[in-house]
């Protein structure tokens, strides 16, 4: 495996999926995987199956819901969309993430003192 690729951080996949659904509206699993792949610009390696584990978890928490529909190339597929609870959760998690990212960024930006 290429050294410049990173594993997906635990818990971040949920956040990415929520954000994707918020941004693009109802989407099937394949679409979500494509979107993440596209956005990560091949930095992240992802077994696409994992997306479904995440989707199930989110559904159980009622953050997203799903319904069967027909895909763009006429296939029966399950479309996921974000719920109101999910939107609230996304806001909370985004804020959390930014705060932590900020802290880590500042920590890493410290220059060693001579």
């Amino acid at each position: 495996m290429a050294a410049d690729k990173s594993e997906v951080l635990q818990g971040t996949l949920d956040l990415m999926i929520l954000k994707t659904l918020e941004a693009l509206g109802p989407l099937h699993g394949f679409g979500i995987a494509r979107r993440i792949e596209q956005l990560s610009e091949d930095v992240l390696t992802l077994n696409e199956g994992t997306v479904y584990t995440s989707l199930l978890r989110l559904q159980q928490k009622s953050w997203i819901r799903s319904e069967w529909g027909v895909s763009e190339n006429n296939r029966r597929a399950r479309f996921y969309s974000i719920t109101d609870r999910g939107l609230k959760q996304l806001a909370v998690e985004t804020e959390n993430w930014e705060r932590i990212a900020g802290v880590i960024g500042r920590v890493l930006a410290l220059e060693a003192k001579a």
Binding site: H28, G29, F30, A33, R34, N47, E48, G49, T50, Y52, T53, L56, R57, Q59, Q60, K61, S62, S71, N73, R75, R76, A77, R78
Partner: protein, 903 residues
């Protein structure tokens, strides 16, 4: 709702849609893979290559499917279900172990529950009345001389005492109740068939004072007592059995002693009167009609309402809320001291005071002492059985799980989680105790009813759930502790250690063996106590069954008759003489006679004071000359099958106008006349007013009961005696006496359609019933003895078999070094015989102590009966030998080579 709860709900929901969700997910994955492959194809890959890359990119589908399934629904139920299935498999794999454990639990715990429940009901249970702590039965230590007393000596009071207490004692309520007769029953009729039902005549405040409500209608009011209204309240049970709980029962007529009573109420479910063991069917207010005299006494002797020295009323009191029991008793006593002499005589200053006491409103007031004692003995026996059972289950569990140590080690080594193994063992123990509990409950239900009917308690008896739960929880904890101990041992040693260690190493735990030995010795000691007890009681039973009765009860039908319309002595004599004539004409009847007290029923008239030919009887003070008597009819001894030694039987010629005749038994003749040739002598009472001519002497025979010692007895004729209001008819018929009953009923109903046959049964059954308590007691004791033996056998077998299995290597070495088979067998047998001997040494003193306690229940047996002890010891030894025979045989068949190779 929190996210966690939402998740759980979603999982729970998914539990019911497993399969659909599975296929939906498969479809979703399939679509995803296809779309991914298409994408790669579009990017220029070959179809095959694209499919492969898509799979790689997607990841392991099987694993994913499994993960999805696991997180989609909760695994809790699946796990529990798996554990239960595993537990059931483990238990069915060892069926003997399982059956023995479950049966042991069922019998031990079930018997314990049943006996405790009955004991609780008999000794502890309060009456189902409102605020029972303020309600008391009134008892007295005595009554002034000159009183005519009927009923139980310590619970009878006169009508004036009742009125005085009500009006002057300041008690909140004084309730009176009087049984309809000595049996408590009275003839009643609902439809066309006359029958007997138990009832009390009660004061108007009875229901209100006790705080007992009604299912339907009303209880009594003061006016019912004052006007002696012909109304009745029936019990909920009677309502159910006779009126099928019909709500329009109110206003219907119930004939009691041929008098129509209007039903005004149905007492609340569970209240069956204040007569202890006897549950009542109806209550009526105090009546003034002559046929409703207290206890069914002849009105000629004086009515309870007007004859002021007739002590026959039972009383209960309710104290005021705020007044202590002692204060209330003191005030009641003060009133009683005066009232006791009303209508009797003047109170003298040197008269002793008769102490009143308040007895708790227990369900059973006048406790039958012998009965309570029998129950306590049973309880002790059951306790021993329970102890044996518990230690047995624990030992079996320990032995079984210890022998599974290797299995645990292997499973741990193969990666089984500790929690999982813990959970599995836990499930097994719970399963075992639960199965045992179910069986125990079933057993307790049956046993409680059996015991209840033995105790003649029909009063809503149920096995006590608390006791059952308590014993089961104790068992469960024991099962847990001892069942899990080996697992702990297996875990604390590293798996390799246990796997490597050989049987010889694990044998070295002497301490564990000593504990096991102590348990076995104690068990054997307890078993010995039980066996000795059972032996003594069974010996008693044998003596009871083999005691010659001196008469031929077989082929005799007996039933009571109580004429409703004979109010004077002459009327009743005429009635019974006519009845005897009429019954004799029934085809097939060999002879008919009558008796006031039914032989074998325990009833008897006991008298003292007699003169023989006007002199002291054989030098004995007349007042000291005590005897039992019975009032009978013509042909009595021929009918009963009693041998007449001298003179003759009573005959029809002994009419009211003929000279008064009396027949005595051998003991009477020898004791009071000094000779068997008593015929022709005259008996008279000390005042000399009445004299009877002895016309016959009969062989001694049993009168009140089988256990009765021979004592002086005399018989007189009802036709020549005072008023009798009820007689028992004895009929000798060929074949089954009960087959004659329908014919007799028809004849009797022609005489009076309202007259039921009272307690019809065979005379043999009367005697059987008289020892029913001892019979059941002895049989139960026998059962417990056998139970103990079986338990000991299984316990011993289990432990020995386990030990032998741990010693295979040792035995192999011994045999390799030249030990003979017989030596190996002897080694095993000697071990268990030693244990047995130790148990006997410990058990004999215990058994002697227990035998002392049993002494009063024995008949014709000494508590130190050598045969019982010898049998018990032989029994224990035999069981020990038998239980060790199989393990010993197994040990003898150990092949040295294979035993050593096994290690």
């Amino acid at each position: 709702m929190s996210d966690r709860a939402l998740t759980f709900m979603a999982k729970l929901k998914a539990l019911f849609a497993q399969r659909r969700a599975d296929s939906a997910f498969d479809e979703e994955m399939e679509t995803h893979l296809e779309m991914l492959a298409e994408k790669y194809e579009r990017e220029g890959m070959s179809a095959k290559e694209a499919a492969q890359t898509a799979r790689r990119q997607f990841g392991n589908t099987t694993l994913l499917r499994q993960r999805q399934r696991e997180s989609r629904t909760t695994m809790f139920f699946a796990n529990v279900w798996r554990d239960v299935r595993f537990g059931v498999r483990q238990l069915t794999k060892a069926p003997v172990f399982t059956i023995v454990c479950v049966l042991t639990l069922a019998l031990g715990v079930g018997a314990n529950t049943a006996v405790f429940s009955v004991m609780h009901a008999v000794l502890m249970k309060m009456l189902p009345v409102e605020d029972a702590s303020h309600v008391f039965y009134l008892h007295t230590t005595g009554w002034p001389d000159g009183v005519s007393q009927t009923g139980d000596s310590n619970t009878s009071f006169s009508y004036p005492v009742y009125r005085a207490l009500r009006e002057q004692s300041g008690l909140q309520e004084v309730m009176a109740f009087i049984p309809m007769s000595f049996s408590g029953k009275a003839p009643v009729r609902v439809g066309a068939v006359p029958e007997e039902a138990a009832g009390d005549m009660v004061s108007g405040n009875y229901f209100r004072g006790l705080g007992v409500g009604t299912e339907l209608g009303r209880g009594f009011v003061e006016k019912d007592e004052d006007d002696h209204t012909a109304v009745t309240v029936i019990s909920e049970k009677f309502w159910t059995t006779h009126y099928s709980r019909s709500r329009d029962v109110i206003g219907k007529t119930l004939y009691i002693k041929s008098v129509p009573f209007t039903i005004v109420g149905v007492a609340i479910k569970g209240f069956e009167g204040t007569e202890g063991k006897r549950s009542l069917d109806f209550w009526i207010p105090l009546q003034s009609r002559p046929e409703f005299n207290a206890w069914g006494s002849p009105a000629e002797d004086g009515m309870y309402l007007t004859k002021q020295n007739f002590w026959c009323m039972k009383l209960m009191v309710r104290t005021e809320a705020g007044v202590s029991r002692e204060q209330a008793l003191a005030r009641t006593q003060a009133v009683f001291d005066q009232a006791a002499y009303i209508g009797v005589r003047q109170k003298h200053t040197d008269d002793p005071t008769y102490k009143l006491s308040f007895m708790d409103a227990k369900q059973f007031d006048s406790q039958d002492d012998s009965f309570a004692r029998a129950l306590k003995t049973l309880m002790a026996m059951v306790g021993l059985v329970l102890l044996i059972a518990m230690s047995n289950v624990v030992m079996l569990l320990m032995a079984r799980n210890a022998s599974r140590q290797r299995e645990f080690a292997v499973r741990l080594a193969l990666g089984a989680g500790r929690t999982e193994m813990f959970r599995q063992l836990l499930t097994e123990s719970v399963l075992l105790v639960a199965l045992g509990g179910i069986a125990a409950w079933a057993f307790a239900l049956g046993a409680t009813h059996a015991l209840g009917s033995w105790a003649q308690i029909q009063s809503n008896l149920q096995p006590d759930g608390t006791v059952l739960w308590f014993t089961l929880s104790v068992l469960f904890v024991l099962a847990l502790v001892f069942g899990l101990a080996p697992l702990r041992a297996a875990m604390s040693n590293s798996p390799e250690m246990v796997l490597r260690s050989s049987a010889t190493v694990s044998q070295s735990n002497w301490q564990k063996m000593r504990v096991g030995n102590a348990v076995i010795v104690t068990q054997i000691a307890m078993c010995l106590v039980l066996l000795v007890g059972a032996g003594l009681l069974l010996g008693t039973l044998r003596n009871l069954l083999n005691t010659p009765l001196g008469q031929k009860p077989k082929g005799l039908l007996v039933f009571g008759v109580h004429p409703q319309h004979a109010h004077t002595k002459e009327e009743s004599i005429a009635f019974f003489v006519a009845l005897q004539q009429r019954l004799r004409t029934i085809p097939g009847v060999e002879s008919v006679s009558m008796a006031e007290n039914r032989p074998g029923s325990g009833w008897s008239s006991n008298n003292a004071g007699i003169l023989v030919d006007g002199h002291k009887p054989n030098g004995i003070e007349p007042g000291q000359a005590s005897f039992r008597r019975n009032v009978v009819g013509a042909d009595y001894f021929r009918t009963m099958g009693v041998q007449v030694l001298q003179g003759r039987d009573f005959s029809d010629a002994d009419s009211p106008s003929a000279p008064k005749a009396v027949i005595v038994n051998e003991t009477f003749a020898k004791k009071y006349l000094g000779t068997l040739n008593a015929v022709g002598h005259v008996l008279s009472d000390p005042s000399g007013s009445e004299s009877d001519l002895i016309v016959g002497v009969v062989k001694d025979h049993k009168y009140t009961s089988i256990t009765e010692e021979a004592m002086p007895m005399l018989w007189t004729l009802f036709a020549q005696g005072g008023a009798v209001n009820q007689l028992n008819v004895e009929m000798r018929v060929p074949g089954d006496p009960m087959a004659m009953l329908p014919t007799v009923r028809k004849v009797i109903s022609q005489i009076d359609p309202d007259m039921p046959l009272l307690e019809p049964m065979t005379q043999s059954a009367v005697f059987e019933q008289s020892i029913a308590q001892q019979v059941l007691f002895a049989r139960l004791a026998g059962c417990f003895g056998v139970l103990a033996i079986v338990l000991i056998a299984t316990g011993l077998y289990g432990t020995l078999a386990y030990r032998i299995s741990r010693r295979v290597a040792e035995i192999g070495i011994r045999m390799a070094l030249g030990a003979q088979r017989s030596q190996v067998v002897w080694m095993v047998l000697r071990g268990s015989l030693l244990l047995c001997a130790a148990g006997v040494v410990l058990g004999v003193p215990l058994a002697m102590a227990a035998g002392k306690g049993l002494e009063s229940s024995l008949y014709g047996m000494k508590s130190l009966d050598a045969a019982s002890y010898a049998l018990a010891i032989a029994g224990v030894a035999l069981v020990a030998l038998l239980a060790s025979a199989v393990p010993a045989g197994r040990a003898a068949n150990v092949s040295p080579t294979s035993a050593l190779r096994m290690e």
